[in-house]
């Protein structure tokens, strides 16, 4: 029972005409290691295995991937959480072009993030010290600013799969709301105006896959709902 069957999506554009699944046998000696540790062991067997990783503690967002059908971060997902019938299937995040093996091209994801102008905008001159913000105002940013841009949510979202060039997607919209909710930001109406079209925000169908997969426990659907409310009250 201690030998784990790991099936991994492989694709090297230089040598493979099409992607394929490769099987590995892994002796974990019964330890409940993280999926990333399992991948490291496999890379010792086959150094050509490509995946991204950095912090190995769930804060940098490098190793988002699809594990037994669900998106998550390999470094904070213990085998016990995903392995079924002694089998683990690892695939790249769905819906994005694959560069190699588990490495996807995140270009369109980052572009959508940039589209919401993800930086504080304030048209008043800053004071000599900090801008004041009450703890209650600051509390409104909790559950928003913690996003690590791992793309687990957006690549689990059917609306994003269908219109990645036009629908901002849950990650970008969560950040859009992070700045709308910030008492220090004065660009509210411009930010809302950019989201008014039928696609940018309104392609969200409330499927809530984003909430189900977010490894940081964030809730993009709720943030999208808040933006909808702001757009509505702006319109009246």
């Amino acid at each position: 029972m201690s030998t784990l069957q790991v099936s991994i999506y492989r694709y090297n554009p230089e040598t493979d005409s099409a992607p394929y699944m490769q099987e590995f046998q892994l002796d974990t000696q019964g330890r409940d290691i993280m999926v990333l540790n399992a991948l490291e062991m496999i890379k010792q067997q086959d150094s050509s295995m490509a995946y991204r990783r950095s912090c190995r503690e769930g804060v940098c967002g490098s190793d988002g991937m699809n594990m037994n059908g669900k998106n998550g971060l390999a470094c904070i997902t213990p085998l016990s959480e995903v392995v079924k019938d002694n089998k683990l299937v690892l695939r790249p995040l769905p819906g994005l072009p694959v560069i190699r093996d588990l490495v996807v091209d995140m270009g369109v994801f980052y572009k959508q993030y940039e589209s919401i102008q993800p930086y504080l905008q304030n048209d008043t001159n800053p004071p000599a010290t900090e801008r004041l913000q009450s703890p209650e105002e600051r509390d409104k940013l909790d559950g928003l600013y913690e996003c690590i841009l791992c793309a687990c949510c957006s690549t689990a979202c059917p609306s994003f799969w269908w219109n990645p060039d036009k629908f901002v997607g849950p990650a970008g919209l969560l950040q859009a709301y992070r700045f709308l909710a910030d008492s220090r930001d004065t660009a509210t109406s411009e930010r809302l105006a950019r989201l008014e079209d039928p696609f940018s925000l309104f392609r969200c169908r409330g499927i809530m896959n984003c909430v189900a997969v977010c490894p940081k426990g964030l809730n993009p659907t709720r943030a999208i709902g808040k933006i909808r409310e702001m757009l509505l009250s702006n319109a009246t």
Binding site: Q44, S54, C55, E57, V59, C60, Y119, L120, T129, I148
Partner: protein, 590 residues
């Protein structure tokens, strides 16, 4: 390689963490043609893992706080080989740099009056050590590094900085005069190797904790900038000074912020005793990190460690209550559950001193200019080369860094380097172009790996290197172990020179990146080992059984490691701050 593409910039910044992004922001705002070369997407850099905060006398928790008190703490914390002019610059410029971050949008936690929240951290005092514990660390919950890095990245987007994301810098290019005029870099996605020309090259490559088997550092912390500079023949300063953070999660190495103790948590041994009261009667658990780490190892060595093997101690937080934990330390609750299977609201977290921070690095002045020595031992600027952040040794941390000072270091000196380079470019600085032979020598090692046809595998050699450093250059050190360690590293150098890269493909070849990183780990490890062996005293983080005392007569100095001769020299510490009196060396107690 004659058909190699070249790119030209006014300035390049190697590394997309906090210091690199801060330098880049300054240059992007100035309109200089600047590029950030980073092996990971910027927000994946290790700054993201910083938790507890950024220490700075913004006088929020205490309206009477004074940057001079912070400077005193920093100099004392560094066991008096902190350069006082640099500490003065950092502590006095700090508030400006922190307020800028707030204006950029960093979501700091807040006090009821709306000002930035500050918490107590280790080694902090009021009134030059006479006024008790200070609370000087500005925090965004326990995710300050994440908040800071994302804010800096966002503001670089705003200012249209050019990013070469997932590009790996291989080696520096020097011209015939020895000036640094760019680098060789590889686009990881395509494998294309490019010659990048620049009038200013900034090493902002962070630390190298991965030379140790157990570290809080990200997998990417392989000392790439240090390796490049050493291969180019430039000296390194204070490389024996490695900080072991008291609270790495036992087994996993993941960091648990000092902010836990700042908020009132404390360490206990197997008898449930708060043992820091014996080692540091005043500051207790908030003594300097080197002091706390040594105390923990002493407890373990004397049989008072916890667990089956008695090889760790416990960090107790449950008495803080769920509200403080969820409000001030939410990330720690998460990490403890994931990596220690412990809910800190109920049970203590098993912790052990873990390699955390490199105080040494590229010697620089406060403008980030790299320094070498001429034949008479005088400082000499390296034209074209800059460093900031953990890769640099400016030196504000001396022999032991205070918690919260790394984030301040990287924004203050990233900013300073950016401002200086802007001015130098305005003045029209220019250097001789690199010749083809200069480019070829910078290409040597990537060519070597690509032509390797047999030999040992990279992961095995890396693991061996990490074990040598862990066993022979840990919290406590002694002559014979270190001598053996130096020998083992020399042997490893031979074997790495003949090691094998089996995967020679071009597209996103992470095996090639790991091979190139191994060369850098070796450079850093050897510089560390030789420096540690030669500094025959105990000071700050460098603790020797055979030389247990600080030796100011011989070692109130920076060490300077010269890679070509593998020789350790010395460099004077700066004791002349511009606006305050010198802090004279005293016995360091907490």
């Amino acid at each position: 390689m004659s058909n190699m593409r070249s790119l030209t910039f006014d300035a390049i910044i190697i590394g997309g963490g906090g210091s690199g992004l801060r330098a880049a922001l300054e240059l992007a705002k100035s309109g200089k043609k600047t590029a950030v070369i980073t092996k990971v997407f910027p927000t994946r850099s290790h700054t993201v893992s910083a938790q507890g905060g950024i220490t700075c006398a913004i006088a929020s928790a205490d309206p009477n706080d004074d940057w001079r008190w912070h400077m005193y703490d920093t100099v004392k914390g560094g066991d008096y080989i902190t350069d006082q002019e640099a500490a003065e610059y950092m502590c006095s410029e700090g508030p400006k740099a922190v307020f800028e971050l707030e204006h950029m949008g960093l979501p700091f936690s807040r006090f009821d009056n709306g000002r930035i929240y500050q918490r107590p951290f280790g080694g902090q005092s009021k009134d030059f050590g006479k006024g008790g514990q200070a609370a000087r660390t500005c925090a965004a919950a326990d995710r300050t590094g994440h908040a800071l890095l994302h804010t800096l990245y966002q503001n670089n987007l705003k200012n249209n900085t050019v990013f070469l994301n997932e590009w790996y810098a291989v080696d520096l290019v020097k011209n015939a005069n020895g000036d640094v005029v760019g680098c060789i870099a590889m686009c990881i996605e395509t494998g294309e190797v490019v010659h990048i020309k620049s009038k200013a090259t900034v090493l902002a490559t962070g630390g190298s904790g991965r030379i140790y088997a157990s570290t809080t550092n990200a997998l990417i912390n392989t000392g790439d900038g240090i390796g490049m500079a050493l291969r180019a023949g430039f000296p390194m300063q204070d490389m024996e000074m490695w900080q072991f953070h008291p609270t790495g999660i036992y087994g996993a190495g993941v960091l648990v912020t000092e902010g836990c103790r700042g908020e009132g948590g404390y360490l206990i041994n197997k008898d449930g005793e708060r043992f820091m009261e014996r080692y540091a009667p005043n500051a207790k658990d908030l003594a300097g990190r080197d002091v706390v780490a040594r105390a923990m190892v002493m407890e373990i060595l004397e049989g008072r460690g916890c667990g089956e093997n008695g090889d760790h101690v416990m960090l107790k937080l449950d008495h803080l209550g769920e509200e403080v934990l969820s409000k001030r330390l939410p990330g720690i609750v998460e990490l403890s559950k994931t990596f220690a299977h412990v809910d800190p609201a109920k049970d203590p977290i098993p912790v052990v001193p873990t390699c955390h921070y490199m105080m040494g690095g590229v010697p620089t002045n406060v403008h980030g200019q790299a320094i070498m020595q001429d034949a008479d031992g005088n400082d000499q600027i390296v034209n074209g080369l800059f460093a900031c952040g953990e890769a640099a040794c400016v030196s504000v941390h001396g022999a032991n860094r205070l918690g919260g000072n790394s984030l301040l270091d990287l924004v203050v000196f990233g900013r300073a380097a950016g401002m200086f380079i802007e001015e130098a470019l305005n003045e029209g600085v220019d250097y001789l172009e690199a010749a083809q032979s200069d480019i070829d020598s910078a290409m040597a090692r990537i060519t070597r790996w690509d032509e390797s046809s047999g030999g040992e595998a990279v992961p095995d050699l890396r693991a061996e290197l990490q074990d040598i450093m862990q066993n022979d250059f840990g919290v406590f050190r002694q002559e014979d172990n270190m001598q053996q360690g130096v020998k083992k590293l020399a042997d490893l150098r031979e074997r790495i020179a003949n090691a094998h890269l089996s995967d020679k493909s071009n597209a996103f070849n992470t095996a090639r990146v790991e091979a190139l990183e191994l060369d850098n780990l070796l450079e850093v490890a050897e510089a560390t080992a030789i420096s540690a062996l030669e500094r025959k005293e105990s000071r700050g983080a460098h603790s020797r059984y055979d030389y247990p005392d600080r030796d100011d007569a011989n070692w109130l100095k920076h060490s300077m490691y010269f890679p070509v001769e593998k020789r350790l020299g010395q460099r004077d510490v700066n004791f002349v701050p511009k606006t305050v009196d010198t802090f004279e060396p005293k016995i360091r107690t907490y």
